[in-house]
Symmetry: C3
Subunit: 287 residues, 3 copies
């Protein structure tokens, strides 16, 4: 084979079982690191299992809701459920927590995280194609479904938390997009444009390039422990251009969050409140 | 043409584009007047846009959910989305806030509000007919879907607020119906009866009379700034007849609200709490 | 007829109208005993009616949502809605509260509760069969839908409470399963196994035995006012075997609840807080 064939062969890569497994491991470990998740796993394994399934299959649940297909359909994929459930069991109930500890080892963690990002590309393209089969040339629906399929776990986080008895109405992934949700949205737009032949690039090449970007950015962010999204400058520029936002989005955010959260301040831990307080003070200073 | 033809011609009035536009303008302006909405528009344009779409298309989203049709379908109506989005952009991000200010000018505002009410009639009739095509002669479904289509934005307000990071569980449009929701419910019942030939009146005549009533009541209520619904006496009478309520619904409401809100009092601004306190004291007095 | 025919004839027992009626009476009375429900019935009969319908038809609403069928379909069953609505009216608005008082009389209450449990079996089997008609041999879907149909009212309780203006995110039926929800889950598993021919027992025999167990356990629990589920020992054993839980599930629960509720402690009445405090102290003691 020659080099130019790599993207084509890559685009034929089967996700099952290894990449799916990596997705489940990364998702369930992210769940375990949520505040209060371990208590829930002790208090009610059922709620914990359902929460883990929402982490693993949230994308398909959300996208089927949007297209009025059975949201319970993911339960019909027996093998995937079995895999995800065993991962959930090992992560939460493995004696001496061996499984979690071993995958918390940085190199392994980076590998798993990288493989999980690969599945994201596949989910987005699947979502876009699926939406197109329902609504002809409705590009907004394609973007929405591709986004939902790729970042579902994040977008429904409020209701996933509700399963665990946690309710944080003052924030959601639309108010404060996390990096994965942002990059998935961009990916959904790109693949929609490609699907409608507005991009002069073949599907498998775009998949290859986008995945490479996903994996590299994810791995670098994890290894450097930096939370600053590479889009920050573009966002600031766009925000300034179209929405007349000041060049200090973070302060503004602090303000915005503070005022719009006034109604449910009691839902937040004191640490968060203090953090917010700090942000507010900063905002004051900079004005 | 003669006078008796007016209702017929009126019933053939196309909603697109002018009346739809008025609906979008009125809805997005109502959103902007919500507490904390402007902060959200600064903090996260995406959440603000989605919230605005729920204000404009909430009815179709809710009714499609009730009939298990794709709730994302409204995104496929490209032109309407484009119109609504540009209205959203102008209302929230127009330099010097010109757009909002100009439509906040009372006469213009009355015109827009009146035209929005016209679209309500069209939505209700569409909802009733659509439900009938799914369930033959299920008049309760017809009422429910007609109501949802006509007053959707209000009925899902709790979840629309959640998008903006606001959560007020202690109240919803079923607990304390606003006037538009009430009048939409009555309209849904009327058009369902008409659709099942229980009313000795033709469809276009009912549409004409109902719309005239909607527009007049809305315009008078806005120009006189009065919040008292014209149905108040009937409600009191019915409540007394069927549900044995005292003739002092407001005090009772204060009581009910107070006690049933006990669980989430911390979600309300101090001003509201004080207000409620006042209501409680009044209630005490009158007993 | 001979004795061995009893199960077969029993399995042909029609639910409508008497058993359905008992289900409505038991459900609406349970609603009336909820904190703040009476205030809601005074404040807004519409919200109260909708809440009652969710109590009576929650199972069909939830299961249709899971299978992407119109959740509003239950409104099309005119006669059932009429029955349930009249029961709702009599329970909440009957002069001198005669209806409620008469059915609160223990023997009558036991009869109604027993008949309600019979409908549970029918709902579970219907749900399992219905799911099987959608997804061939997807046993997890069958269990889920059977469970949802049989215990729907409980599983959606968070959102049913929201209709009444109450929001208790810190708990749900997955975090702390009530006995009916647990026994319904077990029933759903049993009927799924039977439906997939994994159980060496005929359908009508299983229905008979399961119903007998349901009724007896329910009646004994009500008459002895004991809240301890007969499964407690099995649960403790299973929890110890598979999830390495200590043999003191209640204390553990107290702990878990306390910590995972930290975020929304302000949503609970002081009495509940105190109760929880007690539990916490007990937990401390026992460690």
């Amino acid at each position: 084979m020659e080099l130019w064939q790599v993207p084509l062969l890559f685009s034929r890569l089967p996700m099952f079982p290894f990449f799916d497994l990596a997705h489940y491991v990364a998702s369930v470990m992210a769940l375990k690191e949520q505040r209060g998740a371990v208590e829930v796993s002790v208090q009610s394994p059922v709620a914990c299992w359902f929460s883990a399934m929402l982490y693993c299959f949230g994308g398909s649940v959300l996208s089927s809701l949007m297209l009025a297909e059975p949201p319970a359909a993911f339960l019909a994929k027996g093998t995937n459920i079995l895999l995800a459930s065993s991962v959930w069991y090992l992560v939460f109930y493995c004696p001496q927590d061996i499984f979690y500890r071993c995958f918390a080892f940085l190199p392994l963690r980076l590998l798993v995280a990288g493989m999980k990002e690969v599945t994201r590309t596949w989910k987005i393209t699947a979502g876009v194609a699926h939406a197109d089969s329902h609504f002809k040339d409705a590009w907004l629906v394609m973007v929405a479904v591709g986004w939902a399929r790729g970042a579902g776990g994040g977008l429904i986080s409020n209701f996933e938390q509700l399963v665990r008895g946690v309710w944080k109405p003052e924030t959601n992934e639309l108010l404060k997009m996390s990096y994965p949700v942002k990059v998935t949205l961009i990916g959904a737009v790109l693949f929609t444009l490609q699907h409608s032949q507005y991009l002069p690039i073949t599907r498998h090449n775009l998949m290859f390039l986008y995945t490479v970007f996903l994996v590299i950015s994810k791995v670098t962010m994890m290894s450097t422990r930096s939370a600053t999204s590479p889009f920050a400058p573009f966002e600031a520029a766009l925000g300034h251009m179209f929405f007349g936002l000041q060049k200090t989005p973070y302060k503004v955010k602090g303000e915005g969050a503070a005022s719009s959260n006034g109604s449910s301040v009691c839902d937040r831990s004191s640490s968060e409140q203090h953090h917010d307080g700090v942000k507010k003070r900063q905002a004051k200073k900079t004005e």
